[in-house]
Symmetry: none
Subunit: 127 residues, 4 copies
DNA sequence: GTGGTCTAGACCACT
DNA sequence: GTGGTCTAGACCACG
């Protein structure tokens, strides 16, 4: 289910975080679904358990998952994002967008490609 | 002209790279314009000369600027981006977009915000 | 294994780059082999760690090696060179060849000496 | 007659040296031919007179040209190269040849390309 | 004056 | 442990 690129420059724990969020967006994981244990996931992905633990800790901090001692780790309910939160994330796109504009790509072209990417990310909205 | 956020997690040399590209996009810097010397910019930004040099090296590697020995550093002509190049950069947006979708934001809302950001980045095209 | 000539006019980091490529050509290093760590190589060669890091960075940029965070640095697969690439490298030989011809050396003599040099560079292909 | 690439990474004074030697090899310049004065050449090439002077000094050191005070600068006779000299120059080709071999190019292909390059450099041998 | 290279030594993120 | 970033300060080649 999860695929780790050991050679990528994005840290492994980040890749895990992204993929779990992606799985939620795509509907593969839903609220109260149980996640594999740190040990199990680490052996599945063939990475260091500490790395998985770090990802889970960060996801818990972000209230994406919730750990119940003795029971396991579960997908938490989705929390609302406030306007400020959204703007902050949008801002993170600026460097790459600047690169694209630097290369002379038209705004419309960029927007179209992002639209494609969004539907690719989006999973089945008619679940 | 350039502003460095010393507290940011993006490395200083990266911030310099982004800002120079941004200045080109905005039209503040044009082909053959001379950039401040390494020493000058480093004292302007209050960072170490090596850090500025690292940014300049990377920009030269990316063919954004060109350095002429003993003379200084200049804005190079803009080089074409091929389709593959563009797709690769677009891909870099995926993690943030996934986050936004995870928060339940509509595609249209996201696209509108990006549109705003693009025009903000874009400088005055009718110069 | 690696030998640095501190007095040479070729920068140390360049010498490191050349020697690692040479080791690959000679078959001493193969794909996925781990290179000595920056710290280790720097102490082996008695040069500053930053100098080794610079060499490794450049080699990574050239896709000769690949660094995996927290793990180490490894020999990457060899990437194809296109015709343009080759011609560009061949061109770099021109100044020295001109010098030799200036001294009145015959083309055949030059070619023979290069042939010798090539087999010296090449390592044992029948390993 | 001479062409300087201000953006090249080879120092300008080096480019001048190379081109004068090349002109001799090609037969455009012969023993006792007079070279333009430092001032004249510097204005022809639009470079700093110091740069031309540096090239001439180096060429004189290498006994390629000879300066007669009050008269001008002339092409000197060609001096014999000893075996050691030649080997030293041949050695300078090693890094580029290693790169080519690293890319998997066959010795024969390399030698053929060098052969082409040599005849290109060579000028008219039947003068 | 310009950028390029190098040393010495520090702190941090990742595994 | 690994590499990445940054500072401080030195020397050199080039124009």
């Amino acid at each position: 289910m999860f695929k780790i690129d050991i050679k990528s420059s994005t840290p492994i724990y980040m890749q895990i975080i992204e993929q779990i969020k992606s799985a939620v967006v795509k509907g593969y994981l839903k609220q109260d679904d149980m996640l594999p244990s740190v040990r199990k996931l680490s052996s599945m992905l063939e990475v260091n358990p500490n790395t998985v633990a770090k990802a889970y800790n960060e996801l818990e901090r972000q209230k994406v998952i919730i750990t119940v001692r003795g029971r396991g780790t579960f997908i938490d309910e989705v929390h609302q994002a406030d306007e400020e939160d959204i703007q902050e994330k949008i801002r993170k796109l600026a460097p790459v967008l600047t690169e694209l504009k630097y290369k002379g790509i038209d705004d419309d072209v960029i927007l179209n490609k992002i639209k494609e990417l969004l539907s690719e990310i989006g999973g089945n909205e008619n679940d």
